[in-house]
């Protein structure tokens, strides 16, 4: 009895069962896409009337002009004038303002003389996408204002020195000179400014947990409960053929679903996909194999589907959401929790995927992550097959 033939028999059977269970199939294939759409669009809506507080330490006509430019843009709504820098924390923490514009003393003088100067825009980053948008608004407003100061300062110089005309022309064309006014954005609570695009690798990890861990564990434990597992163990089908046939369909579904998310994100949210597709597929496959290992391991421990589901939830699903850097940045976790994240495979997966998709860097940048994933996959599969082999006969 060839191994391949039994594996095919088991795989075809599994596919038919999955096909019969439409609800589960829909969950596996479409829930991640649904998540993507909901999050992606909800977070991308144009933002208006962002509550803005101002800390004007300059109190010059130039600073008032800048604040007016913010308010008149329609994007910002002035909710208060602060008098001390200590108040910045308060208004952000109590969500009285989503952003605070800090104009330092001496701003007006610098602007008048055309010297480079800075203002600070503090943005509440708890919602990554809002923060990105707000920052973009702030930057464009400041850029416009900066251009005006520069022009005014030059005109003043031009009226004194006729030779300066050429200078205006060249600098206007070259745009190489740094603008005299720059904004220095500080995004609090989410310094990486993760956006929809950052969601994609996390969603793929989520899919892997759903398909590979939860579905694999449940489908094997279901066979234990129904007694069909014992029936198969009585047959010449060995544990290897059984596991291969049993897990391949979920591997395929996981891969299709994950690549679907990438494709959908490219289509709808301009995901760049800067890196190599081969590396992408290889990384996803590696992560999926590790996840299958967890699913198998759980199925050798749990005797009922309920127990299997709970173990899967606690051991993989929640850590993937909470401890991988998907929802909460690892850097902002308590130190003890940061140590725990090293045990979460998704942590490495997210780094690798972001490197491939968003940065387009090569293997040299993230091979340690891939090695970590490979170690996880080998250890989990090894342990699972050891346990299964012992239970099989």
């Amino acid at each position: 009895m060839s191994l391949a033939r039994s594996a095919v028999a088991v795989g075809v059977k599994e596919m038919r069962q999955i096909g019969r269970d439409r609800r589960t199939l829909l969950i596996l294939l479409f829930v991640p896409a649904f998540f993507l759409l909901v999050y992606g669009y909800a977070l991308n809506f144009d933002i208006r009337n962002v509550r803005l507080a101002v800390l004007d330490q300059d109190r010059s006509s130039a600073s008032r002009e800048l604040v007016a430019a913010f308010v008149n843009s329609g994007y910002f709504q002035l909710v208060g004038n602060l008098t001390a820098s200590g108040e910045v924390n308060d208004v952000i923490d109590h969500d009285e303002a989503r952003a605070v514009l800090v104009v330092p003393a001496g701003f007006g003088d610098d602007a008048a003389t055309g010297r480079p100067t800075r203002v600070q825009l503090i943005i509440n980053g708890d919602n990554a996408n809002t923060a990105t948008t707000v920052m973009a608004y702030g930057q464009s407003l400041v850029a416009a204002q900066s251009a005006r100061y520069e022009m005014q300062a030059r005109l003043r110089r031009v009226s004194g020195q006729p030779t300066g005309v050429g200078e205006v022309a060249t600098s206007g064309a070259g745009r190489a000179r740094p603008p005299s006014l720059t904004v220095e954005p500080r995004v609090w609570y989410n310094p990486e400014l993760r956006s929809t695009l950052f969601l994609v690798p996390g969603l793929i990890a989520y899919i892997a947990m759903l398909t590979s861990v939860v579905s694999t564990a449940l489908s094997i434990v279901r066979e234990k409960e129904a007694g069909t597992m014992e029936q198969i163990r009585m047959s010449p089908v060995g544990p290897v053929a059984y596991v291969v046939g049993k897990t391949l369909p979920y591997f395929a579904i996981g891969l299709v679903s994950a690549l679907g998310i990438v494709w959908l994100s490219m289509l709808l949210f301009d995901l760049p996909m800067r890196g190599s597709w081969t590396l992408l597929v290889a990384s996803i496959a590696l992560f999926l194999v590790g996840a299958l290992g967890i699913g198998l391991l759980i199925s050798t421990v749990a005797e009922t589907q309920q127990v299997a589901f709970q173990i899967a939830l606690l051991s993989s699903y929640l850590p993937t959401l909470m401890l991988s850097g998907f929802i909460f940045p690892i850097a902002s976790m308590p130190v003890a929790l940061q140590q725990v994240t090293y045990l979460v495979p998704a942590r490495y997966f997210l780094v690798a995927l972001r490197a491939i998709v968003l940065k387009g860097v090569g293997l040299t940048a993230f091979w340690p992550q891939l090695v970590a994933l490979a170690v996880f996959a080998a250890a989990l599969l090894g342990l699972a097959s050891l346990r299964l082999r012992r239970q099989w006969a």
């Binding site: 059977k13 009585m234 006969a393």
Partner: protein, 308 residues
């Protein structure tokens, strides 16, 4: 050569001995019954014979293959069916047959021939596309049997194959078993039902992992030879039982539906004698006669004897 040869088979789980020094053999084409209470060790024995569980000691040769040495070799030569009719409920009748055909490596032509045979045997023609979940228990049972013998194994193990099935389906099932045996297939079947045990050519009574008795139904009934069984019908069977137990010539009593069976210590005691004394004790007796021992009488006798 016998189809199954078991020598001093023993299986321990920790300190607990589930199967204790079991020896028996089953001939080709024989229907061999395993009779025992819950937890007697029937399933554990079958699992060892099928190569699923390693014996702690002893040997078993099934279909000429030593189970301990080559468990995988045994799996090819046997069919197995459990009480749970382990089929895939979400698949159709046809898909279940296809799956088990694939598992046993049947080629396309042979699979189609066997599919036709199983559908015919189980009476499932015209229901090929029916979901197994929606079949009644009788049909599921016959389909499970069909899937277990799809690869035409010379030896078939049936572990409580008739649980939860109506009497008519059970009768039909046993007809199928008789047919298989006629074709030379060896069958080892476990059951709780004593009436089913009567279908078996030979029976092994297992009690607490040990072989309590073995033989044909007639041979087993001989175990009660010299100790007649008196069946008493009375208005108040419980009172009758108490009164009988107080009598010195009565070894023990047991309830059979609404009647009471009393095992007498020796032959010769006249039933009429008992009636008189029962009436003296205030029990209204409607009948009292010596009956042939049933298998149940034998079983209860064996189990109680080993318990004391």
């Amino acid at each position: 050569m016998n189809a199954i040869e078991v020598r001093q088979l023993t299986r321990r789980f920790g300190d607990f001995t589930a199967v204790d020094d079991l020896s028996f053999s089953v001939g080709r084409g024989e229907i061999f019954g395993f009779l025992g209470s819950n937890g007697a060790g029937k399933s554990t024995t079958i699992r060892m014979l099928c190569g699923l569980l390693r014996p702690s000691s002893g040997t078993a040769v099934v279909g000429g293959v030593d189970v301990g040495a080559d468990p995988e070799g045994v799996k090819r030569r046997i069919g197995y069916m459990s009480q749970r009719f382990s089929l895939y409920e979400a698949l159709t009748v046809d898909q279940n047959i296809t799956f088990f055909g694939g598992v046993y490596g049947l080629g396309r032509e042979r699979l189609e021939a066997r599919r036709a045979f199983v559908l015919e045997m189980a009476g499932l023609r015209g229901r090929e596309k029916t979901l197994t979940r929606t079949l009644s228990a009788g049909w599921r049972q016959r389909l499970a049997l069909g899937c277990a013998i799809l690869h035409e194994p010379p030896i078939v193990f049936l572990d409580e194959p008739t649980g939860g099935v109506d009497p008519l389906s059970r009768r039909r099932f046993w007809l199928l078993i008789d047919q298989l045996a006629d074709e030379g297939i060896t069958i080892l079947v476990t059951t709780h039902y004593l009436d089913e045990a009567e279908h078996c050519h030979r029976i092994a009574v297992i009690d607490a992992g040990r072989l309590a008795a073995m033989g044909t139904v007639a041979e087993l009934k001989q175990l009660l030879a010299g100790r007649p069984i008196v069946e008493v019908r009375a208005g108040e069977p419980v009172a009758a039982m108490r009164a009988l137990e107080a009598m010195p010539e009565v070894e023990k009593t047991s309830m059979f539906g609404t009647t009471v069976h009393a095992v007498l210590r020796a032959a010769g005691a006249a039933p009429g004698h008992l009636v008189g004394r029962l009436q003296e004790a205030g029990v209204a007796v409607s009948s009292c006669e010596v009956v042939e021992p049933s298998l149940e009488d034998v079983f209860l006798d064996l189990v109680e004897r080993s318990a004391s």
